[in-house]
Symmetry: C2
Subunit: 252 residues, 2 copies
DNA sequence: CGGTACATTGAGAAATTTCAAAGTTGGTGG
DNA sequence: CCACCAACTTTGAAATTTCTCAATGTACCG
């Protein structure tokens, strides 16, 4: 009953049709203005000659497998994805959650192959920008380079925070930390409505991110629900007592 | 000799005299050829105009405190240091170990203040290169920029590996992983002699790195010793059964 | 309907922490 | 050279957290 992810798994359920058109291009991308895509393509549209490969993947499928040569810099256009490492014993560690409009990893300008894999959490639309194009742009445009360096720094900061959580915090604190982080981002994206925001991760994925078993993650989530703090499930989080959630996250 | 003493902690033991001269400059630095310092200053010594501030700090003292504005890019010239986060409950997480010749954090070109602190493990000689100088060099020299980007990628990879260890591995595996990593580096630096290499971290520091308590770290180290795998203590590691150590590190 | 992935619950086992006390070590000052 | 001191290490016993195993319940999709 283990969540079969790696190399040779076949989907037990046929992938659903993806929402929206798989042919959607960057011109219409909702996130273009706010992130790296926007910075790369800039205001001047004479840059649109850059070939960007768009693809889609159904929920639970792999977008990238550890060790394979990558076609370029990977950006998630639509849907949620996770970057993770699969261990031989069947367990895995999710390293980061990638939201729409985000780069999967800013280190991808200096490397073509990675030790991590990338899995779609929901149905996902994504694209590759060829390495060479990005390199050239970064070389030519110092503002863009700066932007990229800052992205790398942000990722580094996230990794550091995650290290502290995994090394020093209890199960409850780690899960609260994840929820608060996602809540904050939902707020910034304007996706928080009636104290509720979209959260498509399964309990197994929450467990893989927080370094727990899915059984224990379930128990922690139950206790959060029972204690009137928040209700996680069915693809959404309902925040009931935000102050208390924040207190749990960093009570020590 | 005047030593950097921390604002709020008074050493209970008087700092020892540091080995070598605190005035040592980059021209004589042993590591100059092999790392970023070398790349920055290059073959042409007309760059030596760059003002580099050298300092020393005694073991167990802080080199940098979280939140303070930093004077520049921090490089450890001599001795061991750790990058860590201090929690209000007294526990802390060590994020990385910084060896002689290494940058404390490659993200320091885009930020002047950090969420982590830096502590000297041994007596340490270090230097700051002003941010502006590094920025200019990176802008002007694309080889150097490439070098820097790779450093950032390496740090990122280390963080990912550490996340997997903290999230998914047992106490024994984490400690074995630390020892194997340090063994490998010692080997590359030519510091491995008679299966023994310098390792000045205390059990408390090992515990802070691996997310354990010092008591448990002690028990794991004892069992490694008892089982004839390796002997950690007195500032050195003696490797007895390297194959077995490797097996423990990644037995699952 | 029937199947599959996902979520929940209970009970016992294992890993790790906590608390407390005693043993070691190395540097310092007398 | 000795005695002291502070930091560090070791050990035991009990408490706590988290995991494992196993069974049952639930929601969604074709």
């Amino acid at each position: 009953m283990l969540l079969e992810v790696e190399p040779f798994s076949v989907p037990t359920r046929a992938p659903r049709a993806l929402p929206g058109s798989a042919q959607s291009s960057c011109e219409t991308c909702y996130f273009r203005k706010s992130n790296f895509c926007g910075a790369l393509f800039g205001g001047s549209d004479d840059r649109d000659a850059i070939k960007v490969k768009h693809r889609t993947t159904a929920a639970r499928q792999n977008i990238y497998r550890a060790g394979e040569p990558s076609e370029g810099v990977l950006i998630i256009c639509e849907g949620w994805a996770v970057r993770y490492v699969q261990l031989p014993n069947g367990r895995r560690q999710i390293l980061s959650v990638v939201l729409p409009g985000e780069l999967v990893s800013a280190t991808s300008i200096v490397e073509r192959q990675f030790a991590f894999s990338v899995q779609a959490v929901t149905d996902v639309r994504y694209c590759y920008i060829p390495f060479a194009e990005v390199r050239e742009e970064l070389q030519a445009n110092s503002t863009l380079l700066d932007f990229w360096l800052k992205l790398m720094a942000v990722e580094h900061r996230h990794a550091d925070k995650q290290l502290v959580d995994l090394g020093q915090r209890t199960a409850q604190e780690r899960i609260a930390a994840l929820l608060v982080a996602m809540l904050t981002q939902a707020e910034q994206r304007g996706e928080l409505q009636d104290d509720e925001f979209p959260f498509p991760m399964s309990q197994q994925q929450i467990a893989d991110f927080t370094g727990l078993t899915s059984v224990h993650a379930c128990r922690v989530l139950s206790s959060l629900r029972k204690n009137g703090i928040c209700d996680v499930g069915h693809g959404v989080v309902k925040i009931v007592d935000r102050a208390e959630l924040g207190r749990i996250e960093s009570q020590r």
